[in-house]
Amino acid sequence: MTQDTAPAVQAVGLSKAFGRHLAVSGLDLTVEAGQIYGFLGANGAGKTTTIRLMLGLLRPTQGAVRIFGHDVGRHRIAAARLTGSLLEARATYDNLTGRENLDGTRRLLGLPASEIDRTLEIVDMGAAADRRMGHYSLGMRQRLGLARALLGGPRLLVLDEPMNGLDPDGIRDMRALIRALPERGVTVFLSSHLLSEVQQTATHIGLMHDGRMVRQGPIAELLKRAAPDLFLRTGDLARARALLTADKLTAIDEAGGLVLPLTGGDAQAAAINRRLVSAGIDVIELSVRQATLETLYLQVQTAEAEAA
């Protein structure tokens, strides 16, 4: 497989143990070039460890991860040449200006000075580039971090929680920036807790649970295959929630109502309706709709917890 046809990221049987704790267990993951891959999972699911393995910051206990065909363990520098990463927004030198921060990385990468202005333009940070980083807001830091990750035109961009700390405008801008990257030939590997953002941004997702990959594929396909959502609006939301919880059903608050995965089909919807009505709770609205990423995530987490 040549570098051009190889997947952007391919992990095969990837495991990482810290002492007796297995943080990542036999992970198989494939991200094809041009995808925006949302990497999801609860805290401690193994997302950060996987990212650190991809960047060569950790060595796998078993298995391997390849970036465009380059085994990160054996050819870290060749893999790193194709990869840009934004891991920690505050990982900048506050005593230097934004431009000086970029210049340090630019020099280490052996790139021409024009690269700085090119990436600043992409993230729309040209005006603030000569201010000291210590005076930057978190949103500005995220943008500058993204500019730094884009230096040299990497083919793979690894973003860990890029929306963290951003205000709604900042999130919207960052989303637009990320969505435009595949047009520039950049594959995006995006780890985030903001499921609605991932749903709006990613083309594919991988869902980690307890160090394992439990769902992976095109986001539209996974959502179509998932159990639909049941949306409920009732006269007494708090009581309805308590009743559903007592029946071991997990519901998410949304738009003045409750949403829960409808794993039992129409019969379950009817049963829920009867249960609420017999408890004296007025059901104002009850509708079935396609699952969202949030409810898919909830379904998977619940199924995995039950299996465990």
């Binding site: 650190r52 960047l55 060569g56 910051l57 950790l58 060595r59 870290r76 520098i77 060749a78 790193a80 040449r81 990869t83 990463s85 891991l87 920690e88 505050r90 990982a91 900048t92 030198y93 506050d94 005593n95 230097l96 000086e100 340090g104 990385t105 020099r107 280490l108 990468l109 052996g110 000291r132 730094r148």
Partner: protein
């Protein structure tokens, strides 16, 4: 390598490192000025030995402790290691650059100290000529002493840098530095202490030529070996 060195040195711009490099030698020069005015008049040779001795005995080890902590905290503070170590740059080169920058900064402080000692001499010669040191000021002696101290300090500096880079908290390198300096102050007289890195700089003025040579040789040799070991160890370590 030159690019990496430049990048490492530039990271220190506007940081406390610049102030430390200025303040530490100035402290010695100020103390020397006080000695000129308060203590009996002595020869330039005695004053140069005394001032550089003060530098090597206490100020230099503590300054190196602080300097290496500051250099390491440039990366530890903002958690910049992941970004740095994920770059397509051989990791040994990044650590080598940090070691060479520290060596260079100690050399820079030594040069500053030499200039400030001379400036203190000029001041006393003009303000209170009767308190001025006797004899001739010898640049050669001063350069010999300070360069030997610089070489003898490299072993200690590289140990301090290794500890400072290895541990995110500054407590570990600070403890090592304070303990080493305390040991040097307490046990300097014992001949075996020439093998203790924190004693090596002050061993330069021991008056015993063999001990002087031993301190410089061990300091430079130990410093280079420690730098190499640090580069290998930290490069292989998981970030």
């Amino acid at each position: 390598m030159l690019t990496t060195l430049y990048v490492e040195a530039r990271k220190l711009k506007g940081s406390l490192v610049a102030w430390l490099c200025l303040a530490a030698p100035t402290l010695v020069a100020v103390l020397l000025s006080v000695i000129f005015f308060r203590v009996r008049v002595a020869s330039w040779t005695d004053n140069l030995t005394g001032a550089t001795g003060l530098w090597a005995y206490f100020v230099m080890p503590m300054t190196i402790t602080a300097l290496t902590i500051l250099v390491a905290q440039v990366e530890h503070g903002p958690r910049a290691w992941d970004h740095l170590l994920a770059l397509p740059v051989p990791r040994w080169r990044l650590f080598a650059a940090k070691g060479i920058v520290v060596m260079g900064l100690i050399a820079l402080m030594s040069v500053l100290l030499a200039l400030e000692i001379r400036a203190a001499g000029f001041m006393v010669e003009h303000v209170a000529p009767k308190r001025a040191p006797t004899g001739v000021f010898s640049w050669l002696l001063l350069i010999k002493l300070l360069s030997a101290m610089w070489g003898a300090a490299l072993f200690m500096a590289m140990i301090q840098l290794w500890v400072a880079l290895r541990f995110r908290s500054f407590v570990a390198p600070l403890t090592v530095g304070v303990a080493g300096t305390f040991f040097a102050v307490a046990a300097f007289g014992a001949p075996e202490t020439v093998f203790v890195p924190w004693v090596m700089p002050v061993s330069v003025i021991a008056g015993d030529h063999a001990r002087h040579m031993m301190a410089v040789t061990l300091g430079i040799g130990g410093g280079i070996l420690t730098l190499l070991a640090m580069m290998v160890s930290l490069s292989r370590r998981e970030a």
